[in-house]
């Protein structure tokens, strides 16, 4: 029983790492643009499929195709912002949310058009897992967790040490003050989309490594990602880390007592509980 729980905890940390990378993007975008970006899950899928094209089409190893997928997805995110969201920004955050719902559906259709509706995998065959006592660890799982730690650290350094990172935090904390102090808001918004899109691409690739690629892979992760962002305090990227881990662990550990098909319900229940008890999240967000 104890080893079972430990095993589940390992899976939980792995899926928590994936959720964290998605939730950071959602939180950053919310902090700067004040709207819940519903196309974020499908951006993840786009990133995962970009990497798949390089792996399956050109025979790249996955680690080498990841940077291209990140750049490509960041570009897609910025392009969507410049063609669609930019025109709606002045109207209202609600219209932006509805628009992003449409973008989510459109992105998924594009994925289906290009790569087909079937399941795909990066590498077929079974990975030889490592055994530590009764615990089974797949090498992919180690890469996912290490990758997430590196990215989160890099983001932390970016937000605290660079001028652009500080400008992003300033805009998120107090938009009016940031604008009167001459922060180039359009440039900050573009960088926010690039960072959020890039993180989403990595989350998508990790999800593809952990499970498989499918056109709805991103949308089905949207609810846990938002649950993680809300739990951590939406608009607070550091909270997203805590939220991602809590949701990831809770979803995996819950399989001890309930049917695994209801994993999304666990994320939902935690989110609802948080909304009742402490709507601003663990780290005070912008409710």
């Amino acid at each position: 029983m104890a080893t079972d729980l430990l095993q589940l905890a390992i899976y939980g940390v792995v899926s928590g790492s994936i959720l964290t990378l998605g939730a950071i993007g959602v939180s950053l975008i919310y902090g700067i643009l004040r709207f819940a970006h519903f196309a974020h899950g499908d951006l993840m899928a786009v990133g995962a499929y970009f990497a798949f094209s390089l792996v399956a089409g050109l025979g790249f190893p996955l680690w080498a195709s990841a940077p291209f997928a990140v750049a490509g997805t960041a570009l897609v995110a910025v392009a969507i912002d410049q063609t669609v969201y930019r025109r709606l920004r002045r109207v209202s955050p609600i219209i932006l949310l509805i628009s992003s719902f449409g973008i989510a559906i459109a992105l998924r259709s594009v994925v289906q058009l290009i790569w087909g509706p079937h399941n795909q995998v990066y590498a077929s065959g079974i990975q030889l897992p490592w055994r530590v006592g009764d615990i089974v660890i797949k090498p992919d799982h180690v890469w996912i967790v290490l990758g997430a730690i590196v990215l989160v650290t890099a983001l932390h350094l970016f937000l605290t040490r660079t001028k652009m990172g500080k400008a992003m935090r300033a805009m998120s904390d107090n938009m009016d003050l940031a604008l009167v102090s001459g922060i180039p808001s359009e440039r900050v918004i573009v960088v926010t989309w690039a960072v959020g899109g890039g993180m989403a691409a990595v989350a998508g690739i990790f999800l593809g490594m952990d499970t498989r690629l499918h056109p709805v892979m991103g949308w089905s992760l949207l609810l846990p990602v938002f649950a993680a962002a809300i739990l951590g305090g939406i608009g607070r990227p550091y909270g997203a880390i805590a939220g991602g881990m809590v949701i990831g662990l809770a979803m995996e550990m819950s399989t001890v007592v309930i049917d695994p098909t209801y994993k999304p319900a666990v994320a939902f229940a935690l989110m609802v509980l948080m909304l009742i008890v402490r709507p601003q999240g663990l780290f005070k967000g912008n409710p």
Binding site: A36, I95, F101, I105, S109, F226, A265, L275
Partner: protein, 312 residues
């Protein structure tokens, strides 16, 4: 196609569009009047469909019930069940910003979908519920025209209720909440309660649409709902027709359903080997259409009464 076939298709088309019109009216109460975002339309629709199916089918060992009750009891039950689900979700989110409601409705729709698929004792799982009687089949017969008439009757009923609500002082409070929540609160209104009422009212209309759908098709299964695309179509219908305008909601439903059906017959020309790509292409077109409408004509075909052009 010969005339008889065309007529049959026309009746089929109008009935389906009519069911979407009821959904669009329900969403109009929530989004058009109150500014609430419900991405779980398909969830409330499914609750209504299953409730009415269980209430009206003959007793079966495959699922809960059936209770063999009359059609109108089934529809009333469908509205009540959707309303109960809406009270639960609304109670939690009404005090919060509209984004939280949007996320919560995604969650509730997903859980409803999972439950209907996996809880075989309740819904017979993926095999679905067959043998749902057509409306008033015992007195009026099974002519598809009867179903169309019944659906049109329910559109009129829904339109009358929502239009009355919109013109009433209650509807004015909802629109005031949408425009300026703090102002309404300062005027001493209980904003959360009005929001909850609007959300429950809209959701019960969606449940009604679900009930109509079950009786019209005669068979429902978890696959029949196109969970996300259904929700998305209703949104495009409302935005295209004109959010806040009930005639716009109905008009948008028929216009977008016509477009959706037209693209279906176009893509069918491509043949079976491109069927999945063609389906994706249709959805992509509707997704792009939504962006074009939001940017170029956000007020829709029929703008809301008393609203200046482009002020939303």
């Amino acid at each position: 196609m010969e005339l008889g076939g065309l007529l049959t298709y026309g009746v089929f088309f109008l009935t389906q569009a009519g069911i979407y019109a009821v959904l669009a009216l329900g969403l109009n109460v929530q989004y058009g009047l109150t500014g609430q975002i419900n991405i779980g339309v398909a969830g409330f629709f499914a609750v209504g469909a299953y409730t009415s199916a269980i209430l009206t089918t003959a007793t079966s060992s495959a699922h809960l019930g059936g209770f063999d009750l009359p059609f109108l009891v089934g529809i009333a039950g469908a509205m009540a069940a959707s309303a109960i689900v809406a009270v639960g979700i609304g109670w939690v989110t009404m005090r919060l910003r509209s984004d939280y409601l949007a996320i919560a409705t995604i969650g509730i729709a997903e859980i409803i979908r999972l439950a209907f698929k996996n809880e075989e004792w309740l819904t017979n799982g993926v095999r679905g519920i067959p043998g749902i009687p057509r409306p008033f089949v015992e007195t009026l017969g099974a002519d598809p025209l009867i179903s169309l008439g019944v659906v049109l009757g329910f559109i009129l009923l829904g339109y009358w209720m929502v239009e009355r609500a919109r013109r009433s002082p209650w509807g004015r409070v909802l629109r005031a909440i949408r425009e300026n929540e703090d102002g309404v609160m300062a005027a001493g209104k209980n904003v959360a309660r009005f929001r909850l009422q609007a959300f429950v009212f809209g959701s019960s209309l969606m449940g009604m649409a679900g009930g109509l759908y079950a009786h019209f098709l005669g068979f429902i299964s978890p696959e029949a709902f196109m969970p996300l695309y259904g929700t998305f179509l209703v949104w495009v219908m409302l935005i295209a027709g004109g959010a806040g305008n009930n005639r716009g909601a109905v008009l948008g439903a028929f216009a977008i359903w016509m477009l959706w059906s037209a693209t279906d017959s176009l893509t069918r020309e491509l043949g079976a080997e491109y069927a999945t790509q063609a389906g994706a292409l249709r959805v992509l077109l509707i997704g792009v259409l939504l962006q074009v409408i939001l940017i170029a004509r956000p007020q829709g075909i029929l703008p809301e009464h008393g609203r200046r052009k482009g002020s939303r």
